[in-house]
């Protein structure tokens, strides 16, 4: 019998019941809740007179709507609808007895930064959240994926989900990453290769020596964007990096439980003889710093290349998509990526707002200044704890000295639900994960890059190859 993949193991360990029609009931260990996709779920519970199945399984925080300027209570949020959502989460978590890291709590932050940081996510768990980037948590060898609001309610009420097993896909990145090439470039490159629907229907495992060489933060960046490759869930097998990361975190097992846990977690790897429905290998040496040029994450290219020509695309649907993207982005085929000027820069989001990301951006910002042609550079840490750590290391001072703005934690300009946003037509070097039309503000033009590349663009006023940056 063929061996099992990591995903097979996680799936099997959480099977509550299999139904005749091929669907299954799987147990959910952890649900993470935020203010945007939960109000209707709590309302549903109330209307049906139901109680949460197991309140300790859930942990909540506010992130999507919060201003990134200091505020002390919901009442201080100017935007009325944002205020209502933040307040509603507070009321709901209180009513149902769910832990919330709310306003003023140093643990508050972007859901997918907060949860691993607290150890609220540990290997072997099933993790869901009403947010598609829940895949981030798969970096800890979890089955983690986004769900809709009806499912948030379903998990609250039953601690399970009705699911169907996905297929297995492995993407192995083998070899050593070149200088200036980060986890973000790896995942953007992967999406460029397999396409935004390449992973649809699959659970993705990232493997290979280049993935294993990444820190936990880097692995989270890679798993974060599984959904941009079409896969709901992305994951990385357990190794020492995983276990060292979890150790000592507030929610992590302690004492005898810890030893027992580690022993079990060591088994959370794909067996050598496991068979994947799709198995892709990428040579790490082929990956260069990436910049997205269009309105879909697969429209991505190396910084040292010229923009692609739609006329060379044989697939008609893709070609018309490219043409529309050129129109929206105000760019021309054939132009060098480094000629694209940048109006604003955003360093943050659940993709790249952890301490390592901020360190990488600060390293570039150090001793340099924001270009006069760049209107604004926002640096938004992923959580209160990341912010604290960065300040202890003096990163905030580096950013401020370079003319960057140092903000409070939240999703911020990743989706511009709060006041941080692009004006129509502006180009933004952004460390976030989506370059859809209007994502960062109506008419805004997003270019996805790594934190170092974003900081370099802020300094130069246009994209630059981080490998060729002049010394400060």
């Amino acid at each position: 019998m063929a061996g099992k993949t990591l995903y097979d193991k996680l799936w099997n360990a959480h099977l509550v019941a299999e139904r005749e029609d091929g669907s299954a009931l799987i147990y959910i260990d952890r649900q993470i809740i935020h203010e945007v996709t939960s109000p209707q779920a709590f309302e549903g519970l109330r209307l049906a007179g139901r109680q949460p199945w197991r309140t300790s399984a859930s942990v909540a925080t506010i992130d999507h709507n919060v201003p990134t300027t200091p505020f002390k209570s919901a009442a201080e949020i100017k935007d009325e609808t944002s205020r209502i959502q933040v307040q509603t989460l507070q009321d709901n978590t209180k009513e149902f007895g769910i832990t919330e890291f709310g306003i003023g709590d140093v643990r508050q932050g972007i859901v997918h930064v907060m949860a691993p940081e607290q150890g609220a996510v540990v290997p072997g768990m099933t993790v869901v959240c009403g947010d598609s980037h829940t895949s981030t948590n798969g970096a800890l060898a979890c089955l983690a994926h986004g769900i809709g609001t009806s499912e948030v309610e379903h998990v609250l009420a039953t601690q399970t989900l009705v699911a169907k097993k996905m297929k297995n896909m492995r993407v192995s990145v083998e070899g050593e990453l070149g200088a200036g090439v980060t986890a973000k470039d790896v995942v953007l490159h992967i999406i460029g290769v397999i396409g935004t629907a390449g992973g649809t229907g699959f659970a993705l495992e990232f493997a290979g020596s280049a993935i294993r060489s990444l820190s936990m933060e880097g692995r989270m960046t890679v798993c974060n964007m599984s959904i941009e490759a079409g896969a709901r869930a992305g994951m990385v097998a357990v190794d020492d990096v995983t276990i060292d990361y979890v150790k000592g975190r507030p929610f992590a097992p302690k004492g005898a439980d810890w030893d027992k846990a580690v022993e079990y977690w060591r088994s959370l790897v794909s067996d050598d003889d496991a068979v994947f429905d799709e198995d892709i290998t990428i040579d790490a040496a082929d990956i260069r710093p990436q910049v997205s040029w269009g309105t879909s994450p697969e429209m991505v290219i190396s910084v040292d290349a010229n923009l692609p020509d739609p006329a060379a695309e044989s697939d008609e649907v893709k070609r018309s998509g490219m043409q529309r993207a050129y129109e929206y982005m105000g760019l021309k085929p054939g132009m060098p990526v480094t000629d694209i000027k940048v109006d604003r820069v955003f360093i943050g989001s659940c993709t790249n707002s952890r301490i390592e990301d901020l360190r990488a951006a600060a390293e570039v910002a150090k001793g340099r200044k924001k270009s006069d042609s760049v209107k604004q550079v926002l640096v938004v840490p992923g959580s209160g704890l990341v912010k604290q750590q960065a300040e202890q290391e003096g990163l905030d001072k580096i950013f401020v000295a370079a003319g960057f703005e140092w903000r409070e934690p939240g999703c911020s300009m990743c989706l511009a639900m709060n006041p941080d946003r692009l004006e129509p037509g502006e180009h933004c070097a952004s460390t976030s994960n989506r370059n859809f039309e209007g994502r960062q503000g109506n008419g805004g033009r997003t270019h996805l890059v790594s934190p170092a590349m974003a900081a370099a663009a802020a300094v130069a006023g246009h994209f630059v190859d981080i490998r060729e940056l002049e010394p400060a």
């Binding site: 147990y27 945007v36 809709g148 399970t160 009705v162 935004t196």
Partner: protein, 212 residues
């Protein structure tokens, strides 16, 4: 949940691939804490020429006449014909809520993003996957004749265009059953509460830290 058994309706063609949920319902409208009222802002950035915000009187806004849903011939459409990877992006269930609220009952496309596909079923909106070729011929048929209608029969799993052959589609049994009967999934799952409890007991022995 609203039942879906058989539906006959006017078809609107949305000729774009990779339509993402940010496009279906832009983020500024996610701030509502209700499930209804999203219809007027469906495809907001494509439908209107100005920037929309919640609570606005949409009847006063300048329309983008070129956008397919604004064309007179597609008024009253309840079936959306779309291209591959429809509904990619965020997990927001506001996307199917907005489509339903606008009046759509079914979407036909060559492929859907996973989370969106799943969310549709929770709300009585039927996403139907047909081959690229079949979708292409439906686009031609719809664009070629004003008022083109399609009947969808869930029980027999058929898309029946007003002209041409019926097209069969696949659907998972459980989802079909729930749609045909308008079932409450939570209620169904709670019938298995004993299995869930038994599972928890087993798990708590092996991984007690999960339950702390």
């Amino acid at each position: 949940m609203e039942k879906f058994v058989r539906h006959d309706g006017l078809v609107a063609p949305l000729d774009r691939a990779n339509v993402d949920t940010d496009q279906i319902i832009p983020k500024q409208f996610l701030k509502s804490i209700k499930r209804t009222g999203f219809g007027p802002n469906l495809f907001d950035e494509w439908r209107y020429l100005d920037e929309g915000f919640p609570g606005q009187d949409n009847s006063q806004r300048p329309l983008n006449e070129g956008f397919v849903l604004n064309q007179p011939r597609y008024q009253g459409a309840s079936i959306l014909l779309a291209r591959r990877n429809f509904g990619c992006g965020s997990s927001r269930e506001h996307a199917p809520w907005a489509l339903m609220d606008f009046g759509f009952r079914a979407i036909i496309a060559p492929s859907f993003a996973d989370i969106f596909y799943n969310n549709c079923f929770k709300n009585g909106l039927l996403p139907i996957v047909l081959s690229e070729d079949n979708v292409e011929s439906l686009f031609k048929a719809v664009e070629g004749k004003e008022g083109f209608r399609i009947t969808i029969d869930l029980d027999s799993q058929q898309v029946i265009p007003e002209a041409g052959e019926p097209l069969a589609f696949e659907i998972d049994e459980f989802r079909k059953h729930c749609l045909l009967n308008g079932l409450d999934e939570i209620g169904l799952t709670l019938n298995e509460a004993d299995s869930i409890r038994a599972y928890e007991e087993r798990r708590a022995e092996q991984e007690p830290w999960i339950f702390q």
